[in-house]
């Protein structure tokens, strides 16, 4: 079941963004993290040292585990940043910078 159903959500028209080159659907009001969860993704970062996968942990912008690269900018907190049509979301490897 889509959790939008019990809340009787009637969001505006869905739009697409890409996650690591794959098109995924999002609706207005969703954060990047919400759009990724809705698309079945739970990790979109690898850690700087061990290269381990990470995704949402605290869900409220405190833990910084859900960092992701959005439209070329690394270190965006996916749980805070709203998803926008055409966003190019990429898994953030390490610091997200070439180094």
């Amino acid at each position: 079941m889509n959790p939008q159903e019990p809340a009787r959500a009637r969001p505006g028209p869905a739009f697409t963004l890409t996650f690591d080159g794959r098109e995924i659907a999002a609706v207005p009001g969703q954060t990047v993290a919400a759009a990724l969860w809705a698309a079945g993704a739970t990790s979109w970062r690898t850690t700087r040292r061990a290269g381990r996968p990470r995704g949402v942990f605290c869900g409220i912008g405190v833990c910084f585990d859900c960092l992701v690269t959005v439209n070329g900018s690394p270190n965006q907190r996916a749980c805070l940043v709203p998803a926008r049509p055409g966003d190019v979301v990429r898994t953030q490897e390490g610091t997200g910078h070439e180094d």
Binding site: M1, E5, G29, P53, C58, C79, L80, P82
Partner: protein, 475 residues
Amino acid sequence: MRTDLAVIGAGPAGLAAALAAAARGLRVTVLDSAPAPGGQFHRQPAPGLAAHRPRLPHDRGRGWRWLRDALAASDVTVLTDHHVWVVEHGFTVHALLGPEQRESVAVRAEAVLLATGGYEKVLPFPGWTLPGVVAAGGAQAMLKGGLVVPGRRAVVAGTGPLLLPVATGLAAAGVVVPALVEAADPAAFLRHRRALAAKLPEGAGYAARLLRHRVRFLARHTVVRAHGGRALTGVTVAALDSGGHVRPGTGRYIPCDTLAVGHGMVPHTDLAETLGCRLAGAAVRVDDEQRTDVPGVWAAGEATGIGGAALALAEGHIAGRSVAARLRGTAPDPSTWARAAGTRARLREFARALDAVYAPPAHWAEQVPDGTVVCRCEEVTAGAVREAARDLGAGDPRTVKLLTRAGMGWCQGRMCAPAVAGIAGCEPAPSRRPFARPVPLGVLARQHRDATATDDATGEGAGEATDEGTEEGPS
């Protein structure tokens, strides 16, 4: 921008205070980091989702409708998407504009009320960094705000009253919840039954919902390991003995793609600490009027002790009335808020009882293997923390941090501080973070430049100059 009272946090405490102060003639500005007021407790689906029944079964909506309507009818200014990073004496409240957080604005105020709430404590165990393992409150926040869930089958675990609405909320949203794993001992509830009696109907309601959704309630159990390679595939849970040790041979495997886990709440005290407010334990210390020991600074809600939304409302109401009187130069008459004070006393006693009942397993720290990551940001293991304490002589969390980098990462120890202290075997210490959240260096540089520029123009001290320099916000 200038205001009489700046309220930091638009949850129940902040809104109750704002309404009480505004009703008594004060100009009130509320700043909150979220896109809409309500705080974590009253988090609503994002407006874009157009939820026609935003009240999911886990959220009792009456209180929120009252607050929302009272706010709409009031003169209170609410600044959402404002991430307050520091409050300067005098007072200037500096906030980053979110979600980009590249610009900062300032609000000048005669008085400040800290209603910064709390955040979740999660203690480590093997596998807790796997994708699919989320903070219980985080799963709830994503569900309430984004109407999304992380998977199809979720175990809810840890300890604390929050686990009940998280489990029933996820189940009502269509997630299969095979078990609610609670470390607390049911015998402890019996010992505190008098203080907890008032909440029995609420507890019974949750019990009925757990039953309806076929959620198995495993009391005096704990998650000993989360399994999976690149993502969670299941958890092993085990029973605890009366001393809080895992009982050997009781482990059982539960397949799941989500683990929502939490071990209670921690008060958000960064802004209070920067202002120099004295703490009582982990919370901001306040008097009967909700005043901190710093003149002009009040605090209410979970920043002053974890106790729930109803307590936050009572404390906020008292704080708002106190501010209104004090800013007029009069002493308030506490008999005018006797009802709120009675509620506050009753709910604080209730919170103490809950605190005594809900506790992580007594020996959780011993059960964390050396190889388990404790500091999620800096990837510092329990073994490294133990080595710092045992072999290198670190006797406090700060020394452990300097030796291991635990707590030095993006979250500044907000996630790992209780775990690091527990595993190192030392008392948790106030963090003394200068800023309440990461601030871009460019923002800091502009503050300095603006202050200096105004200095040159007016010849006044930098302390005076900052307000003019930043009042409009750097462009």
